[in-house]
Symmetry: C2
Subunit: 461 residues, 2 copies
Amino acid sequence: MAQKPSIPKGTRDFSPVEMAGRNYIFDTVKSVFKKYGFLPLETPSMENLSTLLGKYGEEGDKLLFKVLNSGDAFSGVDYDGYKVGEENGKRFYNSNALSLKVCEKGLRYDLTVPFARYVVQHQNELTFPFKRYQLQPVWRADRPQKGRYREFYQCDVDVIGSRSLLNELELVQIVDEVFSMFDIRVCVKINNRKILSGLAEISGHPDKLIDITVAIDKIDKIGLDAVKDELRERGLDDAAISVIEPVLTLSGTSAQKISTMRGILAASEVGLKGVDELEELFGLIETSGVRQEVEIDLSLARGLNYYTGAIFEVKAKDFAIGSICGGGRYDDLTGIFGLPNMSGVGISFGADRIYDVLLGLDKFPKEAVSGTRVLFTNMGAAELRYLIPIAKELRLAGLPVEIYPDNVKLKKQFDYADKKGIKYLAIVGENEVNKGVVTLKDLTTGEQVEVTPAEIAEKIK
Amino acid sequence: MAQKPSIPKGTRDFSPVEMAGRNYIFDTVKSVFKKYGFLPLETPSMENLSTLLGKYGEEGDKLLFKVLNSGDAFSGVDYDGYKVGEENGKRFYNSNALSLKVCEKGLRYDLTVPFARYVVQHQNELTFPFKRYQLQPVWRADRPQKGRYREFYQCDVDVIGSRSLLNELELVQIVDEVFSMFDIRVCVKINNRKILSGLAEISGHPDKLIDITVAIDKIDKIGLDAVKDELRERGLDDAAISVIEPVLTLSGTSAQKISTMRGILAASEVGLKGVDELEELFGLIETSGVRQEVEIDLSLARGLNYYTGAIFEVKAKDFAIGSICGGGRYDDLTGIFGLPNMSGVGISFGADRIYDVLLGLDKFPKEAVSGTRVLFTNMGAAELRYLIPIAKELRLAGLPVEIYPDNVKLKKQFDYADKKGIKYLAIVGENEVNKGVVTLKDLTTGEQVEVTPAEIAEKIK
């Protein structure tokens, strides 16, 4: 009996047309990463749960996909050890503990923790600073909704083992070059976590850095007033909020913002360090001739707690969508795996959103998403013997060529070319074989010419 | 407290050096697939277990990695419904049924079943014949051992919706072109399942096709005598074995083998059909000018039961390893999902084994696995301001360039270039900045020259 086929919710098939667009994105970012000396790395889809648990907060732990131990996972489980109650003869067990007993592995939740695990595990084989990029899927058991999937690709680029701000500059240059290649206008927003630490300090709540970060991270979505409400809920008094508020709405040039912040944070050592770093980075950016817009956004916070220095976010200027790229500097990502004092910085490109922007702005280059260039018709065995060597030569010249596999009505073969968007049809019947030619039809213009086999490549290029 | 990091057994990290080799393989096969009109497809890593179960035999079902339902998988499980026994107050449950209750999804076991599922699910959107390639990892809970992993990539190329033997020819041409690009000499072995059916028929055991297939599939590993023993164990009498044996050891040219088989199988309609198909395919192969060795191997069986026509296997001639590529024609792969009569044919490239062959024969092209071309030294802020625009120009010209991020001792910067195999060092100190030049050192020869920024690209290309 036939099953009606489907796929798990939150997952996707990518058709050839979608894949062409996605590969254009992946190939472009990879080509830029390589020009800056970043090399590819891949880690396993499954990591030990002990590697993943506790790294993404309590909420993140719940969103991990756990993989059942292979073999007979439940045999030998001492259920009585997991019993938490009994009612009317029915027993209840501790689900969470039971799931950890039968699952030792989980699917990768992001590329950052596996990267940190890799660096620590292979520290003696690596040359530092270690620069890697990684393009692989990650899995999250989030509730699926528009634009949020349970399996999606991340494109991460990181350098670890160097504190130099030149690394931050190169990430900005990479963003600049990638989006210029995509012909997408973006704004790169930059802030520094040390400035936020300084703000927490001078507001009199040095212990509230995470609360402040979480609250102001939402400013784009909920607005200034709601952020102030949340700060209040999180225990900041009006005096503290009045220190933070003007910073969030600061305007002017980068130089002006830096100068203002230097005044506001005069009493905070860490805050001034953040201002220094921002100033040095913007100096480097000026030297480098970055073409896209780069601005200081002091309301930029980024949710992740491991950031300790520069933080980045990239927005498309001509298309309404969340940030399409983000990252920052972390000083102790590898500490949890036993390797302290390894500062690194990285950014992640959001392939799904970039895809939507390219599609929405009609910026996918036609040649990047086109497949077969010419389809040879199939009119029988004699014609095939004649055209197989011709098709072979065209392929050797690098052209994507198809021969319609079956000897069916020409109408059907035309339809195939039409549906697949193949521009040229090479018609080969008895007449063409006898004359030693091919009839080449341009399906977009309808123009039809007789050419020798040697002339085809030139004609269709 | 620090954890000692590790990865699940049977899985692998791929370092930048390994990735370079793997990407060379993937990029090469993709470039050839495209020239024959095959387009990329990707399916989700997780499929519904109902899609996967029962498709790979009983043994395969056991090797599926199951993914625990998200949320609280065990809450609401009526354990009493799974109880199979009780002893001294300890209860025992049906492990297998329990695992299906708490797991609805499994990791992809191969690319063929997801492809069949995709074709059926999207049949109304596809243009047939549908040609796709797919390069993605698959997961199997096999016992890990040398050369056998729990996560590995498959590279499949299939065309579905056409019975023409031109499709078989194109797969042979693809194999020919791929391995010629790799500079690996191979032998393409071809047989036809209909010939094996015919043999089963004339041996008087038409019901024993699968037993015969399974037994003779092992001939390379266990030899002729052991195969005969196994055929006997599987219920074939000596008369039947004496019909099959000479076929397995048949020698001579393809034409001679075809002629002999036509005699042996004269009484079997399906057997003769198989011989006709082989003959037609070899006629097409001759027309096409395939350069690699192609031979009929009547002992070739291939284990998978869904094959119904041509079957292929590719072996490296100069390196001892199992088959590095294999596939065949299937007439009803989509039937189980409700779409009968969809004949297709495909092959799969074994990336791990091809990697071992390329490495073993030292055939990885140097340029395919090299990264950064030139490293700029870092001697301070003034030098950086001078060299950042120079590095930028080189990158715009497509050259992979690094700037050492930290202003540390030159020795350390030299070591970095040396360890990463970077050929050129661009030394920029105060002297170079004042003269408007760069000192370019070839680290392989030790040669050192002063050049203008504009001359660097030419010099290091």
